[in-house]
Assembly symmetry: D2
Homo-oligomer: 273 residues x 4
């Protein structure tokens, strides 16, 4: 991967070649940015690309939208959702003259369909601005995959947790944790499974290094097993066995730290930091 | 319903007639208790009935078990559970020579099957004692339905809740609450639905006036709607929308007060009093 | 104590005699109210007295203020506070032409001095209205002490607590609780001391049956002793020994329920209901 | 400061000279350890010193105790405490024949006097072992100040905090925090003052880089100022103004993370990690 310094020093042609994929079908955007080098940060480079896009002639910007590929990565949709999505996007292309563009990595299944339905109802001018915003979000993620350097744009979020046992005042190790996306009242999808370590945390974030899809989630802790092992004499079924923390993510680039602070008879959670 | 005083003063024959249903097929139990009148409390009357039963000849006590009807009120079981239960109880009768006796009101669906399977594996002497204990639990409930007076036996439990909004320091009114029995990871059954009143409580307990069946439960609060209405500017989906408190009941005669103390970004619960 | 019914039926003269003390030096107020009988509630009677006062000629209302006695019940002030209060009230009488009137039962020591200083700085018209409001607050309390009946005015508040042990999921009995008024960083005054009962509550509210003086308070729980007795093996000094909940009361007629929900390593509180 | 590697390679004489101060008056301890080089960790070096001390002839070990200087760093004691401490240590020397030895950095004022009184009452054999343990604790701290390398002995603890606002789900910046040692009901001593940063934490731990003296502490947060600024319309005095978390430290080498999770009407704390 080239560094930002490499790009700052590269021949104009090489710079454009290296960044061509950021805005597919709009090579002049990279060319305009090339002229503004050097950049102190990757954020600065992204801003130059955005400004170049915004300064481009209307026809060029429209062409960028028109030439966007269809949303990819949708195999996670159910058959019914797929059919609904296909119908919505067909109506969308009909209505606006360009395909439905969305940074799909930032959306859970329900949010994806909701966004599509909502945008189908918006007016053409607003919608064109929204589509271009999404192009820019996709571009930011692509840029981060292509270049490394100081001041990277914030394109990833995180879901993390830790478990604290208030009977002992110690982190709870060995607690099985599962993160599910809450697709509907009848369907949840397992996203990650982990076990807390000696520090009561999972070795890696449950979601990290990518945007956190906008969705409701369900974070489940087998805390009953922990207390069965450490606190003999609890009734069966115990008051707390599987604790389920349901929370929504609206900011895919945010950090959602969702701890569980528990005794056998009480617990609390909060959005932590 | 006769009062305890009425029973204390009744002719022996009337006393026996009034209480005959407490231990069906064992009229001599009520007769023996009649001789020990007066009773200061219904608890005292129940204790006398229990002692009379325990003092009865072995054959009579065995007959009491043998003549118990099959467990009733099992229409809430699924077809598969019913089949499993029928198989277990048939094996049980075979093994022990009397039908499977259980105070079914005290057991959720999963607990019912678990109890049956566990007791099928116990030794005959232990099992006979367990069966007699269950007869006594059933008798206690029947007695409470037949007599009223001081010192009633504790045969009912309670599930209650209240919702507190820590942004305003006030009870949260108008919050929709649902109590579900957690039958399995794929089936929950709605037990009660209510809305919190001005005091953040439900007008009546979610379960009350009867034993609380041994089971895991899921208490769900539409707290997101409350904060949408009172706290504009929250993201969508909100961090908290439906909060789900999963807790187990092991003591059917206990009071499970399970409050929700919440802000838009945090909540806690505990077994309260 | 006469009932509201008695007063509704009493001779006019007796009604006026009975309620004369409510507005000392303003007998015509009670006379005007007498003509509006009967009253369905004591609140209604109070409203009639208030309206009669407000309808009285200006001179009469001013006389009511002028003839008010000096604030009583101030022996709780320190010598320095007394001196400061005397200076402030002297300046007040000078400035406004009537004595400083305040329902002192509604104010802690610091709040009393703060109120006096603040009101000394207000303009005469506002201050006259404020003084009359205080006369009405005093009148409401007096009326509640003189009559009993339906619809009593709300003139009392409450401070209460309960202690919950989240290790056992049970109320914590036998916990010594002390309520202190926080007068300054160097002085607190013990207001009430109690021990929690089997239900984790105190037998009576820590403050009740009277207004809760506006003040910061410090509610201290000897929770360390509880956990020493129930949870062997804690270090010494324990993480939690005396828990101190500092909270402010701004609404003397409010109910401040301030619970302690604790394990040996965690606790929480909130304004409950 | 020499590195562990330097010491591993140093001439025996230089090694002994470098570590002489670890056990003053017992040069043979360092000599015995020198013969066991090289050490992979500073922990390993400390263990070798300890074993050398334990293997030394009884007279030498006693001499080590006898030659210890009086406890230093006691100027923080009040006059009365000083007098009490002087009396206790004089009695101690009388009784045991060597001065009272204690790693004073690990003890708050009350704990220091309590330890002295308790040890005065112990039997000579136990007390000699206790004194030697304290010599080793002092030695560990000295060693850490003299050498640096892998596997440092754990001789420091930490008190830290963070403040979370549950109304916004964000860290609370700009909150003034004070840590006081709770010497007695009438005396607290300010240990540290800090302000929370954008992450709701203090830039440095409130205590760190040294043992945390055994003592009760009071951690005070001016949370009322935070909510006055962010949450208009709260009453005055507010329900929460200064929150005071009183907690005890029994493990001077432990990490005491004591967060405040608060709304204007509720808060919680726990020993975190």
């Amino acid at each position: 991967m080239p560094s930002l310094d490499d790009l700052n020093r590269a021949a104009r042609k090489d710079f454009v070649a290296a960044l061509g994929a950021v805005f597919a079908h709009a090579p002049r955007v990279a060319e305009a940015a090339a002229a503004r080098r050097p950049f102190a940060t990757v954020e600065g480079l992204l801003a130059a690309l955005r400004e170049a896009l915004e300064a481009a002639p209307d026809a060029e910007r429209r062409a960028l939208l028109t030439n966007q590929p269809e949303c990819a990565g949708l195999d996670r949709l159910s058959e019914a959702e797929h059919a609904r999505f296909a119908a919505l996007t067909a109506a969308y292309t009909d209505r606006f003259g360009f395909p439905f563009i969305l940074c799909v990595q930032r959306h859970g299944r329900a949010a994806l369909l909701r966004a599509c339905a909502a945008r189908l109802a918006s007016d053409p001018e607003t919608e064109r601005a929204t589509a271009q915003d999404e192009v820019l979000r996709i571009a930011a993620i692509r840029l981060c995959a292509l270049v490394e350097g100081a001041g990277m744009p914030r394109t990833t979020g995180r879901i993390s947790t830790h478990v604290l046992d208030t009977v002992t005042g110690r982190p709870a190790p060995g607690v099985e944790v599962e993160l599910h996306e809450w697709v509907s009242d009848t369907e949840t999808v397992l996203i990650a499974r982990a076990e807390t370590n000696a520090d009561g945390r999972t070795d890696a974030p449950l979601v990290g290094g990518r945007p956190v899809p906008i969705a409701p989630y369900d974070l489940r802790f087998r805390i009953g097993d922990h207390f069965r092992a450490t606190h003999p004499g609890l009734p069966e079924p115990p008051f707390l066995d599987i604790v389920s923390l349901r929370f929504g993510v609206a900011d895919p680039e945010g950090h959602y730290h969702v701890p569980l602070v528990a005794s056998p008879w009480s617990y609390q959670t909060y959005r932590g930091s």
